[in-house]
């Protein structure tokens, strides 16, 4: 039996299906797929899979950022790397292996750097971002950056964020300002386990307490001036010895080197199969988003393979008070002559510009002008802007209205 096409996804693109949007067009789908520039953040366990999946989904332009080098313990899942690559840049090796396998007109650019090293212009060149990160902080940073581009420059770059832990994983589809951003999910993210200092110092009960005691308190005393490096196995063994002395002193059992490394490095167990699942889900969403050949999933998805198999997509709404995405900051400029308009005139102007219904205009949390109850606020209404704001250069206003989601933040600049 043969398949009539040389490229496996061609049939899907050529033939719209029963769930495809009625406005779908093959030509534009194919063009968007082949011209979009995708940024992959992280070339680790998820990153290796993501690069493979994107390259075999018809994406032709990929950039990949990773600041890390390859370690021996990566090799149980980061399949683009071999033992001889240990110590080399993940993004550079991964790009080379993908390019060698895919050949053809695939353009793949590696960046051996931190995400924080790049400016707005760098990020603006991408059509979509796929994240395979292991740190919450890096996710928050990129989320903040991309949301800022959406809010200030009206450049919408969707982010697909994947995460794994053991047999479990998750995917988030973030369309900046339209759907929940990473920060909106923060209340769902469990806090990192920490141990109170007094437990470590005086009442240790678990092996973990002894290990953290050695890590936080004892190391600097015994090895002054030597900054602990958890990638140096000799140092990890020394740390283990310190923790063991403590454990024996207090009659605590169960200290191992494996546990020592796990605690001080905050190791999250990782396996190839979970990365394969989560990356496949992420890139499937990229493929559908770019081509429109089928609708996208709901906002987020959770996978758990510990007991049977459960993969459940779910709707997740934006947090109304999200510190990153709930405010849309817009600036309007008022010239010097305009500073002679009254507060009321300014309010009407704002209402017209943003086609609002009955807005409440506030400075911070205090009402400046309320279209619903004009009489109650009319004392200040006849003051001019110049008088009211006593010659300030700019003022920030918060506006609430039924025509706008959340709070609109307008910066009025007196030029």
């Amino acid at each position: 039996m043969t398949r009539n096409v040389s490229i496996s996804y061609e049939s899907i693109l050529q033939n719209p299906g029963p769930f495809t949007d009625s406005e779908y067009e093959y030509k534009s789908a194919k063009e968007v797929l082949e011209t979009s520039h995708i940024l992959v953040i992280g070339a680790g366990g998820l990153g290796c899979e993501i690069l493979k999946d994107l390259a075999l989904s018809g994406i032709k332009r990929i950039s990949v950022i990773d600041m890390d080098t390859i370690e021996l313990t990566n090799l149980n899942r980061q399949f683009l790397f071999k033992e001889e690559n240990v110590g080399k840049s993940k993004s550079i090796i991964a790009s080379k292996v993908i390019k060698d396998r895919i050949k053809g007109n695939l353009e793949i650019l590696p960046y051996f750097n931190k995400i924080q090293a790049f400016n707005d212009e760098f990020y603006m060149q991408f059509d979509m971002i796929v994240c395979g990160l292991d740190s919450i902080e890096a996710r928050r940073w990129i989320n903040n950056k991309i949301l800022h581009l959406a809010i200030d420059k009206d450049i919408i770059i969707p982010i697909i964020d994947g995460g794994t832990e053991g047999f479990q994983g998750s995917v988030k589809l973030i369309i900046p300002t339209y759907s929940a951003c990473f920060e909106c999910y923060m209340p769902l993210i469990p806090e990192k386990i920490t141990y109170p200092l007094c437990t470590l110092a005086s009442t240790p009960r678990l092996p973990e307490h002894c290990i953290e005691w050695a890590h936080q308190l004892e190391w600097n005393r015994v090895y002054p001036g030597i900054k602990f490096d958890y990638d140096d196995m000799n140092q990890v063994e020394k740390m283990y010895e310190l923790a063991k002395i403590r454990a024996i002193e207090f009659g605590i059992e169960g200290i191992t080197k494996t546990k020592t490394l796990g605690v001080i490095k905050n190791i999250i167990p990782a396996i190839a199969s979970t990365n394969s699942i989560i990356s496949g889900q992420c890139c499937n969403e990229v493929f559908k988003f770019l081509t429109g050949c089928n609708p996208n999933m709901k906002d987020s998805l959770f996978y758990n393979g510990e007991n049977g198999v459960l993969c459940e997509p779910d709707q997740y709404l934006k947090l109304p008070n999200c510190p990153v995405c709930s405010k849309k900051i817009e600036r309007i400029n008022l010239s010097i002559e305009d500073s002679d308009i009254t507060i009321e005139q300014l309010a009407i102007k704002i209402k017209e510009i943003y086609t609002l219904d009955n807005p409440v205009i506030m400075i911070g949390n205090e009402e400046l002008y309320n279209f619903k109850f004009i009489s109650e606020t009319n004392k200040t209404n006849s003051l001019t802007v110049r008088e009211y704001f006593s010659n300030s250069e700019k003022v920030s206003l918060n506006i609430v209205d039924k025509n706008i989601e959340n709070v609109l933040n307008v910066e009025v600049i007196f030029s």
Partner: protein
């Protein structure tokens, strides 16, 4: 967590299945039939964690279409055997394992039909069959294969992906799991302290007026004490969580007592009845294999038989011996921990002696358990969370049609994609080609002919037509991302089966790449 794999390339995964699980993987031998992209992705996920020995059976050659979706086949290998090249490329990912391709068609024929074939299959711990290949020769033998493996008691996974859809069906006789990793609740015995724990509790006063170390007492002792006092003062009535919380509030002196905060937060633990058995354990205790031990019984069933006799006598399961961290000082905590360990060893001794007695009565060597102290410890620690899965034999259509004759719309919805796949496979077999969008009516006719095999099915299932159309849309092509997903899911299942840890799927799953959702059901 021992240090056998410390710092090695397997470090990050032994944190999930420990070195005993890793050893099981290393010693395992599996076989995969038919090389699709789904198969390659699945194998990648088993080669990397170190499944020791893999046999790949496929006699087809690499086409341009394969290269567009299969990462582990290369352009330079175009036209040569898939199995050989896949073996070569996967071997690079993990030089420590063995991968053997079998491409000889003549040999394949013998493998499936010869009467001595069972010796070949017996060597495998798990067999994976990737359906919908262009290798119709092997496809004709799949009924014989599943019959044979069922008789040999070797797990069989059957999976496939087309376009945005995929399915996975597991055929296994029985899986008896000790390390289910399901331990959500600690076995503290707040409601049922044993004698030495009770004596220890009696020796402690929890009020600050009488005990200056009241703020160092672990919460389990506080809760036990409060329940007992409450029952004594209220005609043996069991308190509610909020009544206990009220009692805890009165124990504060400074407001800074972190052990009392913890007792307050964990007060719901008093609701746990330690004498209750979970449904899993009830199922095991009622299982004929637990009740009737024979000479050929596995150690698992002999252990569960001993566990049941323990429960019949003491009306409670042995203690798991695992004590969570509790705010207290080291001395109080270690004292308490020692009590739990001591009780664990007493309970373990009972089980051990019972097992030895059983083994002797069966004319088997007591060394089976004496030389396996690690297994005994694991069994006791997990004795509340044991899990037995009783699988069903694969059959082509009878069981799925049983679902479609019911009124259970939810279940029918779940099984829709599976039925669509069966229609798709049946079509491919009959017409020797994959259906395209021009073949929708023929594909529907096939689906109807399958449904007609059960006289009780009166209507064409709602939604099936769309699923068939979505399948035919891809003209038999796999999408790489969907292969990566189902290959990952199936690999997790193989790992769970080989390590005998965590709980495998029971026993059928479909994946819908449009919604991103999996649905599982039992056939």
């Amino acid at each position: 967590m021992d240090d056998i794999n410390f710092g090695s390339k397997y470090d990050r995964q032994v944190r999930l299945w420990n070195s005993n699980g890793q050893q099981s993987l290393t010693e395992s031998k599996i076989c995969i039939i038919n090389v699709s992209t789904t198969a390659s992705e699945l194998l990648k996920n088993l080669v990397l964690p170190g499944v020791g020995s893999i046999v790949i059976i496929d006699s087809s050659k690499i086409s341009q279409n394969d290269l567009s979706t299969n990462f582990f086949l290369q352009e330079s290998d175009l036209g040569s055997y898939k199995a050989e090249n896949l073996a070569k490329n996967l071997k690079i990912l993990n030089p420590d394992i063995s991968i053997t391709p079998i491409t000889n068609l003549q040999l394949n024929s013998q493998l499936f039909s010869s009467e001595t074939s069972s010796t070949f299959w017996k060597s495998f711990d798990c067999v994976i069959y990737c359906s919908i290949s262009n290798n119709s020769f092997i496809d004709n033998y799949q009924d014989q294969l599943s019959n044979l493996l069922w008789e040999l008691d070797i797990p069989l996974l059957k999976l496939s992906s087309i376009g945005f859809f995929a399915y996975l069906r597991i055929q296994l006789n029985e899986q008896t799991i000790i390390e289910s990793h399901e331990s959500n609740f600690y076995d503290l015995r707040i409601d049922h302290p044993w004698n030495s724990l009770q004596n220890y509790i009696n020796s402690i006063d929890i009020s600050y007026t009488k005990n200056e170390n009241y703020y160092k007492i672990p919460y389990s002792i506080i809760l036990t004490k409060l329940i007992q006092t409450f029952k004594y003062e209220n005609d043996n009535k069991i308190p509610t969580t909020s009544q206990i919380r009220k009692c805890i509030k009165s124990l504060y002196k400074t407001g800074d007592e972190s052990n009392l905060d913890e007792a307050y937060n964990k007060a719901y633990l008093i609701m746990k009845n330690s004498t209750n058995l979970s449904n899993n354990i009830k199922y095991i205790f009622n299982n004929v294999k637990c009740l009737n031990i024979t000479k050929s019984s596995s150690l698992f069933w002999i252990l569960t038989n001993a566990l049941k006799s323990f429960y019949d006598i003491f009306h409670i399961l042995p203690i798991t011996g695992i004590l969570p961290d509790m705010e207290s000082d080291t001395k109080e905590y270690i004292n308490l921990k020692n009590l739990y360990t001591e009780k664990f060893n007493i309970d373990k001794k009972y089980i051990k002696e019972k097992v030895i007695k059983t083994l002797k009565s069966l004319d088997r060597s007591p060394n089976e358990i004496l030389n396996n102290e690690q297994l005994l410890d694991l069994f006791l620690k997990n004795s509340h969370y044991l899990k037995v899965i009783k699988g069903t034999k694969w059959d082509s259509i009878d069981k799925i049609l049983e679902i479609f004759k019911t009124d259970d719309e939810h279940l029918k919805n779940k099984a829709l994609i599976y039925l669509a796949f069966l229609s798709f496979e049946s079509y491919s077999k009959e017409y020797k080609m994959y259906p395209t969008i021009n073949d929708n009516s023929k594909l529907r006719a096939i689906a109807i002919s399958i449904l007609c095999k059960n006289k009780d099915i009166k209507t064409f299932p709602e939604g099936l037509e769309k699923m068939l159309d979505e399948l035919s849309r891809s003209n038999g092509n796999e999408l790489h991302n969907i292969c990566s997903i189902i290959g990952g899911i199936a690999a997790q299942e193989v790992i769970k089966i080989l390590t005998n840890q965590y709980i495998p799927l029971d026993n059928c799953l479909v994946f819908n790449g449009i919604t991103g959702k999996t649905s599982s059901f039992k056939l």
